[in-house]
């Protein structure tokens, strides 16, 4: 499918019958079982699977970075040398030098109190006999290699002074500093925006040919896989259910799990071929449920930090029964809008009418009235439920506080709500930590819908979920929306998800709405350059289409 290097016959990594077990309360439980794979020089192997499928723990086993409760069986050969169960001293020589890792979250993987230059020099000097000056030169050279803008200045910067994409570049520069033969990229782009993700994928692609090392890419994003991988291994419940060349897997998935995984990936632009617009937009003649009129939102100045205008000149209407998608990169102010709409943030100027109530002034009385008419589903289901409260109580809280129901009546309503989000009623006494991410997010919806609101704000409700869970969650949301006919502002950075759900889409960039229109107008014929860039950056879960798109994008730049 892609660049096969001419000399590439050497197998870098050979894994045979690899098993990882974890010790839990006196017994070993398998996290990964019987994995067999090999990676050649210049080849990219993608390990795909949902969270808990063992993809990360089996890859960390390669480096011996598992907790002491883990046990590794089987054989791992790096360039023909057995490295499974090496002792720590030997392993340290392998780590960094021959195997390097790119972590998911560069902000936490880089030490915030040292400059990135210092951290790179440290790595270089541990592995090579270098003077500090040589190491610095080499570090700047590496930063150039990863296309860091202005490497000499970046050398002296601290991680927080760099943007997310630049941090990931620094992280990559550090990991390639010893010319590793094997690079493990653990969800390298998950924490990044689509446009930045596209740049990083481009970088990984070019590094692969320049360094000629093997790459093991761990991800759950089929778009990333399609963009980069030569071969794919699909994992489920600790087992490799399917292995093969990337193109084969995408076009002829054999195992039912792979098929369902591919089917649940939201596909940007899939529906365009289907009967024009299958979703007739609800009438826009009625009075809007949510209306921003020239709204500006500011975070007040604190100490010497000046006030920050997070959103400005916002004009946006959401009509009854309509789902409006609000998309943009992180930091574009889309969450700010969502929080303002439910009265969690005061607005600075303009008029904001939410669920028929003018909350521009933000008085307690207005907000109290709004509470009964608007609900919000938060981004992180782990943090949006009180960990010390049974979920039944969390769901019932709005009802109780609104004086709608009490005692037996409340119990009944809570059970109805649980049933409506397809959770067993027996779950009502469970605590949030006893539920999975998808179940917790259902609880979030049940709570938001408990008062049958006119307006629902969904703030990136699926960004913390696996694809297949996300698909089920979106189906449920759509179903409930059709049944209850609430207006919904759906905030997301994922264009494909918005494409599935929304009637109309608004695009936000640096606190301003740059474009809004119906779904087809925005996604099929975007007018603003920014929207076009955003759409072009979304990786398609299809290797061939993705390659075409990549080439057209490169031509366009």
């Amino acid at each position: 499918m892609s660049t096969t290097t001419p000399t590439a016959v050497e197998t870098v990594l050979e894994v045979e019958n690899l098993g990882v077990d974890f010790w839990v309360d006196g017994e070993y439980y398998p996290a990964a079982v019987g994995l067999d794979y090999r990676v050649k020089r210049g080849e990219v192997l993608a390990i795909v699977g949902e969270s808990g499928s063992g993809k990360s723990s089996s890859s960390m086993a390669l480096l011996g970075l598992l907790p002491p409760t883990a046990r590794i069986t089987g054989s791992i050969k790096l360039l023909g040398r057995e490295i499974a169960n090496l002792d720590n001293r030997e392993l340290r020589k392998v780590r960094g030098n021959q195997i390097a890792v790119i972590f998911q979250e560069p902000m936490t993987a880089l030490n915030p109190v040292y400059t990135i230059g210092f951290q790179m020099v440290e790595t270089l000097r541990t592995h090579f006999d270098m003077t500090p000056k040589q190491a610095k030169e080499r570090a700047i050279e590496l930063l150039e290699k990863v296309e860091m803008p202005d490497p000499a200045t970046a050398f002296n910067k601290y991680p927080h002074q760099l943007s997310g994409g630049q941090r990931q570049r620094a992280m990559i520069a550090q990991s390639i500093s010893c010319d590793p033969v094997l690079l493990i990229a653990d969800e390298p782009t998950t924490a990044l925006d689509v446009t930045v993700q596209a740049e990083i994928l481009e970088l990984l692609r070019s590094l692969r040919t320049r360094l000629d090392s093997a790459i093991v890419l761990i991800t759950h994003d089929m778009g990333v896989v399609a963009d980069l991988a030569d071969s794919i291994m699909v994992m489920k419940n600790g087992e490799a259910v399917e292995q093969g060349a990337a193109l084969d897997i995408f076009q002829r998935p054999q195992h039912p799990y792979t098929q369902s995984l591919l089917a649940s990936v939201p596909h940007l632009g899939l529906e365009v071929s289907e009967a024009g617009d299958a979703r007739p937009a609800p009438s826009t003649a009625a009075t809007p449920v949510l209306s921003f009129q020239d709204v500006a939102i500011e975070y007040p100045k604190r100490g010497r930090v000046p006030a920050f205008r997070a959103a400005d000149e916002i004009n946006l209407d959401v009509y009854p029964g309509e789902i409006v998608g609000l998309v943009g990169e992180s930091g574009s102010g889309k969450t700010t809008l969502g929080r303002a709409a439910v009265g969690l943030l005061p607005i600075k100027s303009g008029t904001l009418i939410s669920a028929g109530i003018d909350i521009s002034a933000g008085t307690t009385k207005e907000l109290k009235a709004l509470r009964r008419k608007a609900g919000i589903v938060f981004q992180d289901p782990g943090s949006s439920l009180n960990p010390r409260m049974p979920i039944g109580e969390s769901i019932g809280e709005p009802l109780l506080l609104a004086g709608e129901a009490e005692g037996k009546e409340l119990d009944k309503r809570v059970q109805e709500l649980l049933t409506s989000v397809e959770l067993p009623t027996s779950y009502r006494n469970r605590y949030p930590h006893e539920l999975s991410g998808g179940q917790r997010q259902r609880v979030g919806i049940a709570r938001a819908l408990s008062l049958a609101p006119e307006l629902l704000i969904a703030d990136e409700p699926t960004s913390a979920l696996d694809v297949s869970v996300q698909a089920r969650f979106l189906d449920l949301l759509q179903e409930l929306q059709q049944k209850l006919q609430f207006a919904c502002l759906f905030i997301s950075h994922d264009l494909a998800v918005v494409d599935m759900l929304a009637h109309r889409i608004a695009v936000m960039h640096r606190g301003r709405l740059v474009e809004q229109g119906t779904r087809d107008e925005i996604l099929r014929s975007p007018k603003e350059a920014y929207t076009q860039r955003l759409i072009a950056a979304v990786p398609l879960p299809d290797p061939i289409a993705q390659r075409e798109r990549r080439e057209s994008r490169r031509a366009g730049l």
Binding site: R71, T73, F378, L401
Partner: protein, 398 residues
């Protein structure tokens, strides 16, 4: 263990998935937060022993010499089972030496007996056991009262300033700063002189009014981070008032910090009372406390050392118990606390696993499904694959 994976003959290839599910079940087993904390707490041996010892001390102290408290005119008096009380002055026996003997006769001692004055007598003849028990009572009362008052004030002030921030935070924290800058021992000395004759309870209340500062700071820090969590916003959207958010949503999540700090505070209160009484500012005669016993008898250090041993032993025992319980609670409330298995436990688990693997192979070969089975069975199994005589499956692991 309760959730042993079961391997049925017709279900061999799926066994990995079963085990995986069990793993998940184990982690999310239907336990409430309280149950989890309790289970972890009872695993901490030091804390458990301390609880038993502390309970024993409390029961003995209060039942042996009876209660006697008067607080602003209200008198509470009950008799105890011990023959003396701390005000009686029996005749000195044997120079006041302790009659307690713990060395049995066959080891050359005097046999196990308590005698009339197990802890000895002081120079006038007071029974030290009765005096120490009374002192222990006082110390425990002070510990509990200081704990309750300081924890209530500290939690409320910390929660209010952390939650509302702004001017309320500034005012409350500056107030806290002022209290912190005054050494508690000085406050205790001044106030102790004034209310010391009112008994230990009054002293405890005053000490409690000055001991909350550290807790307030800690709770404020915790609340500052908790208030940014999304469930607080969720509660606000649900229509919860600030008071409800603080008491129902935020504080229960800070309970770990509060409980742990409370135990440390209580241990400190005992030592503070001891120090004050030693200096002569705490509990006044004719009543007594552990610190006062030591202070009263400092001249007799060389001649009657038991006058120091016993109050000293009880001060140390109570403070240690409270600190151990606090340590146990800290461990129990910390969700990141995961026990590391011992090497023995790991070895046993390995043995179990190999047993299971072997059973699996056996079942697999019998079922003629060797191909799949060999693939899913982790380590140690393949070399026994040839072995399909049933007896070998039950061969014990060395």
């Amino acid at each position: 263990m309760t959730n042993n994976p079961t391997f049925e003959p017709d279900h061999t290839p799926g066994s990995v998935t079963d085990a995986e599910n069990n793993l998940e079940l184990k982690e999310v087993e239907g336990l409430s937060q309280g149950q989890i904390v309790r289970r972890r707490f009872f695993r901490h041996r030091g804390a458990l022993v301390s609880m038993v010892v502390l309970a024993f001390i409390i029961i003995t102290a209060f039942s042996s010499v009876g209660l006697s408290f008067s607080f602003f005119g209200i008198d509470v008096r009950t008799p105890g089972w011990w023959q003396w009380n701390w005000t009686q002055i029996p005749d000195p026996q044997n120079g006041g030496a302790p009659t307690l003997s713990l060395v049995p006769e066959f080891l050359g001692g005097e046999g196990i007996r308590f005698g009339d004055h197990p802890f000895g007598q002081d120079e006038v003849g007071r029974d030290i056991f009765a005096v120490v028990m009374r002192g222990t009572q006082q110390s425990i009362v002070i510990m509990v009262v200081v704990g309750v008052i300081a924890v209530s004030i500290g939690t409320v002030i910390g929660a209010v300033s952390g939650f509302f921030r702004g001017w309320r935070d500034s005012v409350l924290m500056r107030f806290t700063d002022i209290i912190i800058t005054i050494p508690v021992i000085v406050v205790g000395a001044v106030v102790g002189k004034a209310v010391g004759n009112q008994g230990a309870l009054a002293l405890a209340i005053v000490l409690g009014l000055f001991a909350w500062t550290g807790l307030a700071r800690l709770v404020r820090a915790e609340v500052l981070s908790l208030r940014e969590r999304e469930f607080v916003d969720a509660a606000r959207v649900a229509g919860a008032s600030n008071r409800r958010i603080i008491f129902k949503h935020v504080l229960p999540n800070a309970i770990g910090v509060i409980i742990v700090n409370a135990t440390l505070l209580m241990a400190a209160a005992i030592l503070l009372e001891t120090a004050l009484s030693f200096l002569g500012f705490g509990v006044q005669s004719p009543d007594t406390s552990l610190g006062k016993i030591i202070s009263d008898n400092q001249a007799a250090f060389a001649t009657r050392p038991w006058l120091f041993w016993w109050p000293g032993v009880f001060i140390i025992a109570i403070a240690l118990c409270i600190n151990f319980i606090g340590d146990g609670l800290r461990d129990a409330f910390d969700p990141r606390q995961k026990r590391l298995p011992s090497a023995r436990a790991l070895a046993r688990a390995t043995a179990n696993r190999n047993d299971l693997a072997r059973a699996e192979v056996l079942v697999g070969t019998r079922g003629g499904d060797t191909q799949v089975d060999g693939d899913v069975t982790p380590g140690g199994a393949p070399d026994r694959r040839e072995d399909d005589r049933p007896t070998h499956g039950s061969r014990g692991d060395a």
